[in-house]
Symmetry: C2
Subunit: 143 residues, 2 copies
Amino acid sequence: MRTSKPPPGLEEISEAECWELLGLHQMGRIAIVVDGKPQIFPVNYGLRGKIIVFRTAAGTKLAYAPDSPVAFEIDEYDASAGAGWSVMVQGLGRDVTDAADDFSWTARGTRVYPIAPGEKLHRIAIDHSVITGRRFRAHDFVP
Amino acid sequence: MRTSKPPPGLEEISEAECWELLGLHQMGRIAIVVDGKPQIFPVNYGLRGKIIVFRTAAGTKLAYAPDSPVAFEIDEYDASAGAGWSVMVQGLGRDVTDAADDFSWTARGTRVYPIAPGEKLHRIAIDHSVITGRRFRAHDFVP
């Protein structure tokens, strides 16, 4: 369900540019579903091709992301320009820490540097199905 | 499921400080579940007491947030300090646009200024059940 036409000042970002934006950033948020309820966690991530990878220790993300629907989001807002954008990737979480399939091999080649402390020995990748992005400029913004 | 002890450099933020941080910011991300799959959207929000309120037009958020479990998250990372934090609120979404109950009345008193363009005539509030926060400092950070 979506409105038929975006309002003035709001535009969709092409799929190619969404991936480009993902390649330029290192911090995003992963949403997972735990017992029917969503949870959101900030994570550092890496991108290889079109595979988003993040690292984690044992815990909620490791327990509920693999083989389950997840969403990943990055955004930016420039207050001085009155402009912002966001990109959302939807897909399936996959534990690629040890698996021997091609997807996991490729995903393990991704460089990911978590900033938060703690050993994060597990790697979770997103097997994407949908990627969408939106950019806006505040219509009544006066610089 | 969580690890028994946070690693060095990671600390939990008290519930009181979580609300304080929410009161100091205006932009967060809402996660909703659509057909079992999570989605994340950035929103401007307002806080009144312990009620988070955002505005929206007709669309996915309005269709799937009311009377459903949602999560709301804010975070910040200071690269120069090598430190960051995040706060997550879990609860039930409620469409407070017209409802006459006390919660909705209170929620409608919240000032919310969406930056993104487009009429956002509906107000959705979060009836919170859980609030958690974490703060970290990179353990090997050298300023």
